[in-house]
Each structure stands twice: as C-alpha cells, then as structure tokens.
C-alpha cells in the first residue's frame, strides 16, 4: 500500500499511466480509467502546463501567440462536442455518426489502427468511451487555461458544485415522487392536452406525455422549474444538516482509529451473554444441528 510514495518521479508517473491503460482495457471504464487519468492530470498540473511551442514567445508574431494561447479553449470545445454524443441512436445525425465511427474504428474497436493491439483494446462501451475522452479534454483544458478557470470559478458553478452530492442522492426520489405526481395529476389539471392515457391491457394505465401546444409546454416549463426549485431547496437543507453528519462521523472515526479519541465500549452485556452461552451449551454442535431447544432438552 502506498509503495510508490518512495519511487522516483519518472517511475511513479509510469505506474499511474500503466494503471490508467490497464483500467482502460480491463476495468470499469468510467470509474477506474477516468479516475486514473484524473491522477495523471493532477501530476500534470503540478508541472508546467505550457507546451514547448509557446515558450519562445518573442520569436513568434503576436497573432500567433494569441492563437497558441487559445488552444485550451479549442480543446474544451472539442471535449464538449465529444460529450454531446448521445448514448442512444448516435447514427441519426451526421456529426455524432462521424465521431462514433471514428472512435469505433480507431480508438475502441478491434480493427483499424488498433489491429496491432487487437487483444488489448476492446470495449463494447463505446458511448461511455466517447464521453470519457470528452471529459478528459475538458478538464485538461481547464487546467491549462486561466480564463477557463476564472469562468468555472463563478458563483453558479460553485453553488451547484456544493450541492452536487446531495442532488445525486435525492434526485432519484424527487423524480419518482413529486415530478411523477406533477405529470400525472397537476399538468392534466392545467392543460387538457398534456398527457394521454393508454390502457396496456394487463391492468395498468400508461401515461404518455404529449404536450404539443405552446400553453402545455409553458405549463410544463413552470412545473419543471418549480420541481427543480424544490429539489434545490431540499439539497441545500440536506447539505446543511445531513452532510455535516458525514463530515463529523469521518472525523470522529479517524480520531478513534488513530488513537486520538478513546471509545469506552460497554462490554458487560456481551460478557454476560458469552458466559451464559458457555454455561448452558455443553454440546455446542448439538445446538448447531438441532437448535437451542433440543440442546436444553438433552441437558
């Protein structure tokens, strides 16, 4: 554990890169590969972000320097476009079809340029691969661009970033209850053409959201905004009162395991139980086979 802490810089980086490639091929794509690439980017951020071709700025014309300084923004746009590729039916539009085919032929498939590494690069999770590379490009561009860092450090991004974990935990329940209730009960009461009820023939009624008129779409927008506001308020309360418990619990746990805090456990009930158990079970295997009652009868 933590053995690479004593390694040299080169070998530490090499191990992180090897781990990222290993998880790219054999591990869960998102959580493992992206996690290690994040570690690589952390190492990258601790070194200079400036590429070689921008170091000799005085040798270049000013317009060229401006273009070269803008490369992170171009990379960010590329990452956002890659992230926009839909997981379902990407072949329906030209732009997504081209991107998915490129990844399928040269990045994640077992043909094309990867034919030499046929056994190593093979994943059927192509859409998540595209999204992962988009995320990597976006984060890399933010690390290399002070202007992008200033943009993403603004209050709305910080606000929703603080609520992200609470929103992750609560959004499922809020979609399943308030939003579904609003679609089934509130929206049809506001506009008549909101939903269509379809009897599926097996005892349940399917509710299909139609909402083609402008009035219905306006009402749906109001409902969604209200629901989202309710979710945000709930997340703020969760963060204020529940997340704090997690922080306190983790601090307490660390103090206990490191010996900085003593925990006095009342073991007397456990001791009494063990003594009673030993006293009343001379043949424990009988208790295991026949149950507690039979063991008592045998005595």
């Amino acid at each position: 554990m933590n053995f690479t802490a004593t390694y040299t810089l080169f070998w530490r980086r090499a191990i992180i890169v090897i781990a990222a490639l290993w998880f790219y091929n054999f591990g869960h794509f998102l959580s493992s590969f992206c996690f290690f690439v994040g570690a690589i980017l952390a190492d990258f951020s601790l070194s200079s972000c400036r590429p070689i071709f921008t170091r000799n700025r005085l040798d270049h014309p000013q317009w060229l320097n401006r273009v070269l300084d803008s490369w992170p923004i171009g990379l960010a746009l590329l990452g956002l476009v890659l992230g926009s590729v839909p997981p379902e039916n990407p072949e329906y539009a030209t732009w997504s079809r081209v991107i998915v085919n490129f990844f399928h032929n040269y990045i994640t498939a077992i043909k094309g340029m990867s034919i030499l590494l046929t056994k190593l690069i093979a994943t059927d999770d192509n859409d998540r691969a595209v999204a992962s590379f988009g995320a990597i490009f976006l984060v890399l561009s933010i690390l290399c661009s002070p202007s992008l860092q200033r943009f993403f450090a603004q209050a709305p991004f910080i606000f929703f970033g603080n609520l992200s974990f609470a929103m992750y935990l609560l959004h499922g329940t809020f979609i399943r209850l308030p939003l579904q209730w609003a679609i089934i009960h509130i929206l049809p009461a506001l506009v008549s053409d909101a939903v269509e009820y379809i009897d599926d023939g097996i005892g349940a009624t399917e509710v299909e959201l139609i909402c083609e008129s402008w009035s219905c779409q306006f009402a749906l927008a109001i409902v969604l905004l209200t629901w989202f506001g309710l979710l945000v308020v709930s997340c703020m309360l969760w963060k204020k009162y529940v997340d704090v418990l997690g922080i306190q619990f983790s601090t307490w746990g660390e103090q206990v395991v490191t010996g900085k805090r003593e925990v006095h456990l009342n073991v007397e009930p456990l001791t009494r139980f063990i003594q009673y158990f030993e006293k009343n079970t001379r043949e424990p295997w009988m208790w295991l086979e026949n149950g507690w009652t039979d063991a008592k009868k045998k005595r």
Binding site: Y7, L30, F35, D43, Y168, I183, I184, T205, G246
Partner: protein
Amino acid sequence: MTGHTTRGVFPSYLSSADFYGAMPRLFQLPILRLFSAGPFWVAVFFVLSGYVCAVKPLRLANAGKVEETRKTIASSTFRRFLRIGLPATLGTIFCWCVSQVGAGELFSEFEVQCQWTTFVIAKRVPGIIAPLKSLIKHCVRRKNEEMTDCSSIHGEMRKINTTAIIGP
C-alpha cells in the same frame, strides 16, 4: 440529474435526432445536448475525483515527504469512505421509509411511459424482517434500481481500493 429527468420526461432528446436523417431539435445539437448528457458529466466527476484525491499526495511525494504522503493517503482514503457512505446510507434509508409508508401506492394504477425503467418507486414490502432485509440489500448492493442510487458506495470502494494499491 438532468440526464435522468430527460430520460423520464423527454426521452426523444436522448438521441441526436428523432429519426435517421432528421433535422435535430435545439437541445439535440452539440454542446446544447450537454444539458441531458449524463455519462459525460459522470465522467467529469470521476476525472475530478481522481484529480482531487491525487493532487495533494503527489505534491508531497514530489517534495520528498514520504511519511506525510502516506499519512495523507491513509487519512483521505479512510475519511472519504465514511464521508460518502453515511449520507448515501441515510439517503437510502430515507427512500426506504418513503416507500414503506406507501408512497409507491400513490401511482399504482399508472406508469409514466418513459425509457427509464426505474421510474416507478419501490413498492412497500410487508412484514418486519423482509423490509429490513430489503433495506440492508439496497444499502450494500452496487445498484439498487428502485431506491436512491447507492452505487456511490461501490464506486467509492473501487476508488479507495485503486488509490490505496497503486499510489501515488
């Protein structure tokens, strides 16, 4: 969140167009589609998680402070599990309580037509032992489809294992 909402309410926006060769709608266009691009933002989260978990230990390791590096990794790894696990467990318990009081019965005769098969909330489990077993199962399994997504615990465990084993 927006990805799941889109999957539940506007499933047509999950594709790049309504059918092959069709003109994409506004929020089916590149970059605007990010509003409902769930896998992309999840990937951003994992990249940022790797960055956050590694930047401080790497800074200490590059400075030659080996013991501080190990202490930092051990502390962050241990605290992260408790920091993430407790709220996620409380969230699952909250959802379990909501389903046990009969919230799923509110829409038993309806099912909103969508592509998110987990749209329907979990039904109430009768009895005493069975609901508790269901609760424990949903707290520890990787993905529970009817309650709050506790895959964060499994994902955090995977990250903890990989961080602890590999380094820095």
